[in-house]
């Protein structure tokens, strides 16, 4: 199963329609859409770290997410351009570009998380900073949350002058880590707008105070309007000008790229071991149980016997034939534990 998490409905709409996902009406806390041959579960979390983490925790617990599953966070983000980068390095051309995030820095703590970059893709890669507040468009400043961002983020900007900023990715990673390993989580972001950093040098004591206007801070958690993308701004860094249609448009424009990646993950997921027992494994387990019973195995003998059978199956040793001969010879089943121990040693010898 691929667990998709989007902060807002406009970020999810194109994916829902592409895969023909159906709303799961039984789920009341978060809007959930399922389908894609039963392999996709898309949740609209609402904006912000708390909402995103709560959704991941709730949905993954309910669906027993784990080995064989993947988590994918898809959404829009801002590109924060270093001073002068916007003009000189073409940062203005970023809106609509999709990025796979290779490091996620939580602004509040300065902690950075690294999803494994396992799968092939055609996106550009970039680090993303997850903040709790919205970067104000008119002031073009930092939110206070960026105090904790390690220098690395700024160093990483040096090559082409920008980094990405959202309000969920690092939280989704941390909540997802209760269910998934770093190889099972991916973070795909499409730039909705570019904000330029102000040009003042960073003082020795840290980043300058931010200029975040109160009305742009998400203070009310996930309102129904926010989920539908109707409250402005839709992007944490975007100020109030971006509306539902713009987010939907960039997601629709990118849907082919996004779904190609989702399909690749889906194929990889199918190929991986889901942990479900095959018919042969079930029949082998039944045979092993019978053998344990007939050998009057103790708990310790039982685990040793299982290890032998596991090895024989892998090494191509026909353990059923060896056991069948013991049954034919009348050495199995055993009458008591004493005989069981004797036959157990014989079986071990004959298997190897």
């Amino acid at each position: 199963m691929i667990f998709l998490f989007c902060a807002l409905y406009p970020e999810a709409a194109a994916l829902i329609s592409h895969y023909g996902l159906k709303k799961d009406t039984a789920e009341i806390r978060f809007p959930i859409f399922c389908g894609g041959e039963g392999e996709i579960c898309l949740t609209v979390t609402g904006p912000g770290e708390v909402a995103a983490a709560a959704a991941v925790g709730s949905i993954c617990t309910k669906n027993r997410a784990g080995r064989g599953d993947l988590l994918l966070n898809i959404g829009s983000c801002a590109a924060i351009a270093m001073p002068a980068a916007e003009e000189t390095r073409g940062a203005a051309g970023l809106p609509g570009s999709a990025f796979l995030c290779n490091q996620l820095t939580e602004a509040a703590t300065g902690k950075t998380f690294y999803p494994d970059m396992i799968y092939r893709h055609g996106f550009r890669e970039r680090g993303i900073v997850t903040g709790t507040k919205i970067i104000d468009a008119t002031e073009a400043g930092f939110s206070t949350g960026l105090y904790g961002v390690p220098d690395g983020i700024f160093a990483a900007c040096e090559s082409d002058g920008f980094f990405l900023y959202d309000m969920e990715a690092a939280a989704i990673y941390q909540a997802g880590a209760y269910f998934f390993g770093p190889h099972q989580m991916s973070f795909l972001k499409i730039v909705s707008d570019v904000q330029a950093l102000r040009a003042e040098p960073v003082p020795a004591g840290g980043m300058p105070e931010c200029a975040v206007s109160e009305e742009t801070v998400w203070a009310d958690g996930m309102s129904e309007r926010a989920v539908r993308g109707e409250s402005a701004p839709t992007n944490p860094a975007a100020g109030s000008s971006l509306i539902k249609e713009e987010i939907m448009r960039i997601m629709e424009d990118g849907v082919e790229e996004l779904t190609a990646y989702i399909d690749l993950l889906r194929d990889a997921c199918r190929g991986s071991d889901s942990g479900a027992a095959t018919a042969k494994e079930k029949s082998d387990a039944a045979f092993a149980e019978k053998l344990c019973r007939d050998l009057r195995c103790s708990q310790t003998m039982r685990s040793v016997l299982y290890q032998h059978l596991r090895y024989c199956a892998l090494a191509g040793i026909d353990y059923r034939a060896v056991a069948a001969k013991m049954y034919r010879d009348g050495r199995l089943p055993c009458r008591d534990k004493r005989e069981g121990k004797l036959r157990f040693e014989e079986l071990r010898r004959e298997l190897l």
Binding site: D151, P182, Y311
Partner: protein, 344 residues
């Protein structure tokens, strides 16, 4: 989208994580020039990537990433009990690289490390400085290709050449002061021929029957190629050791190991070898537990080993039989006093 050609995974070293403190190191710069298309990710500390929770060693190893870092703290360790000292005193090992580009199913690194990614510590000079400090007190026998295969990554790291020159410098005028073992399955014979020989550098080639190589030493050179590399090292004038360790059990192990011995000594002049080692597979119980979890389909790690004092090994009778058998075959070529069998 590009690259979606049916192969799901990124190629090896598609991404290189570089510690900020190591970024400007000349070794880092040199290594990075070899991977102009790699995605470079700056990190604070290698453990931020290498020691994450819940990693899948096997999956990562199949699409291995490179981490360039500086090693701090302990740089030299005393020899572990599962390893042979070959009668040498002051036996140490060091890990200037963690993990390996080869993929042997039985490799203890899968049980030891949380990640399948390759870490190269770029501050090799700090290792050298630490060794010099110890050498001021006593001579040393040092295994340097321990938690990795240094020769296999020589085109990337260049550390074999650096070690050879370091040993030469330390032994100049004071022969025998520092002896190192470079253990490898690599078959790059040109490497040894490109280096001036040094008596203090033992080139130790791990050899296995071709059937064992095919079954569980993935991505490694064939037996014939490894023999060729050992020949090249001998011809170049290096001391050469052959390691028949770990011996791996299979139904027809006798014939496999017998024909391997014949193949080896049809090409290698036994009297030119400094010694040979024999040892069957053994591993600590914690490592095996983890390896069995991450390689459920590997016969070699799923073998029903016996636990002897916290170490898993083949049942004592089988272990004795396998090792004695091979040692006897080797004794047909190599003097007995130069055959080392591992003792617990």
């Amino acid at each position: 989208m590009r690259n979606l050609d049916g192969n799901y995974y990124n190629p090896p070293f598609s991404h290189i994580y570089v510690e900020r403190a190591a970024a400007e190191h000349p070794v880092t710069r040199r290594i990075l020039t070899r991977f102009p298309r790699a995605e470079i990710i700056t990190i604070e500390h290698y453990k931020d990537v290498f020691c994450r929770r819940g990693q899948d060693y096997v999956l990562q190893h199949g699409t291995q990433k490179l981490i360039l870092a500086k090693k701090h703290g302990t740089l030299l360790y005393e020899g572990a009990p599962v390893c042979q000292s070959f009668g040498n005193e002051n036996f140490y090992y060091t890990s200037c690289v963690m993990n390996c580009v080869y993929d042997c199913e039985y490799c203890y690194l899968k049980g030891m490390y949380p990640s399948g990614n390759l870490v190269i510590f770029v501050n090799l000079d700090d290792y050298f400085a630490e060794i010099e400090r110890r050498l001021a007190r006593h001579s040393m026998y040092l295994c340097v290709s321990y938690d990795t295969d240094l020769a296999a990554i020589e085109p990337i790291a260049g550390y074999v050449g650096a070690w050879v020159e370091f040993v030469r410098g330390q032994n100049a005028g004071r022969p025998g002061r520092l002896k190192i073992e470079l253990r490898t399955k690599s078959a790059d014979g040109r490497l040894w021929q490109s280096l001036a020989p040094e008596d203090g550098v033992i080139c130790a080639f791990t050899l296995s029957p071709q059937a064992v190589i095919d079954a569980c030493e993935h991505r490694t050179p064939s037996l014939a190629q490894r023999i060729g590399a050992a020949e090249a090292a001998l011809a170049a004038g290096f001391p050469v050791r052959l390691c028949f360790d770990p011996m791996i059990y299979c139904k027809d192990w006798r014939s496999q190991y017998a024909s391997m011995t014949e193949q080896v000594f049809s090409r290698i002049p036994a009297d030119k070898l400094i010694d040979v080692s024999v040892g069957s597979f053994r591993i600590s119980q914690e490592y095996l537990k983890k390896m069995r979890r991450c390689e459920p389909g590997s016969a070699v790690v799923q073998f029903p080993f016996r636990n002897e004092g916290g170490f898993y090994q083949y049942p004592p009778e089988l272990m004795e039989e396998m090792e004695r058998y091979l040692a006897e075959r080797l004794a047909g070529h190599v003097a007995r006093e130069r055959i080392f069998r591992w003792k617990a």
